[in-house]
Symmetry: C2
Subunit: 221 residues, 2 copies
Amino acid sequence: MRAEDRRELILVAATRVFGDYGYVGATTSQVAKAAGVSQPYVVRMFGTKEKLFVEVLSRALDRLLVSFRVVLAEESDVPLGRRFGLAYVNLVSEPGVLLSLMHGFVLGSDPVVGKAARCGFMDVYHFLRNEAGFGPDEVQNFLAGGMMVNTMVGLRMTDDYETDPAVRELLTAAFPEKLDQLRAAAQLQRKREATERETTKRETTKRETTERETTEREAQA
Amino acid sequence: MRAEDRRELILVAATRVFGDYGYVGATTSQVAKAAGVSQPYVVRMFGTKEKLFVEVLSRALDRLLVSFRVVLAEESDVPLGRRFGLAYVNLVSEPGVLLSLMHGFVLGSDPVVGKAARCGFMDVYHFLRNEAGFGPDEVQNFLAGGMMVNTMVGLRMTDDYETDPAVRELLTAAFPEKLDQLRAAAQLQRKREATERETTKRETTKRETTERETTEREAQA
DNA sequence: GAAATAAGTAATCGAACGATTACCAACGCA
DNA sequence: TGCGTTGGTAATCGTTCGATTACTTATTTC
């Protein structure tokens, strides 16, 4: 396979993995397994894990701005803010895009990742302010809604939709439309994570012993 | 010193460290050094790093709800939402409280931490909804603003306040009041991080060599 | 058809980290 | 005074992870 195609595969896989486990929590081995290649190949293709994550952030931002520009190009009677909002929520169908961005947004103290995340955030700001013609308050308000969406997704709040009435109320208020889609995407993700976890367990049989011992010790305490 | 007092010191230090580096990124050694104790002591006092972080989250949430309840008790002509907002921003003066919460909010996929974070978030929701008497939309809107604040703080956006006019515009819109306080807190934090980084570097002289070699290799490429 | 280049892996290494163990010192108290 | 309890530390261990090295296999290209 051509390296360029493989690169895209790895970036998609990495977006998903970084979204699930965060920049520090995700490992290059997880990315490699998800992409169906070896771990050294991932490292050699991107240099370092740090550079890989920066590329993931950049790509995620690109997906975001592209779909916003599509919205901006089409004509509609629906207010622009609401259409952007729907486009934003639609991105949950691309696993890890919003979550990777969110993980970048809390790493401001990191010299490299933090700078990339700040620049990316400001790219969105400039788009809304200049290309979409939003005013400062309008932008701020829109972005706040976006951060709320990110948080709900990051918290896996939909997991408690069935069981907790308050969660249902909150999510209904936060996602007047598109809540079904969000829940569907979340369910897919949960299945994926469960499969992933079982696969990992089956591979490392020794660790199960250790875990059982630990559990027993905690139960005694 | 009594163990109980030492415990509080460690929790304060851990809040700061987890806020800066995240749950996975922070190490028990960093927490220990920040608290002025040995690393094994931190681990033994809280059992595991995971339990320590859950306690940090719980404590941070407590700080938040306590200051909200103080606001709720006092009488004022200013709308409740705005007063809560000010109280929320005031929490930046307690290093790591908001940031630790934010780091918890993106770890929803973690079985233990995720559950704690979701419960914590819903605690705030219930407070606003039941004790403060907010309606669903009002709560959602308020929380969105809060997430926006968290993101701005997490991104260290104030670092670019002087240099980037757009950042200035964004922050002014996001923090109509209290921006000065936010910037002051951020500056304190930056100084702290710089000192910390220099101290760490001075201790590990071998690693400087490795880093320099890496930089040289990158420069060649 | 050989030589070079591209695509990719297995094996392994050094460092960092969380956790454990074993030990030490001070204080209360009978 | 001896002795247990409380509050700690130094040393170390096993694992994990990112990165490196040294190969192998295909596909061009001349």
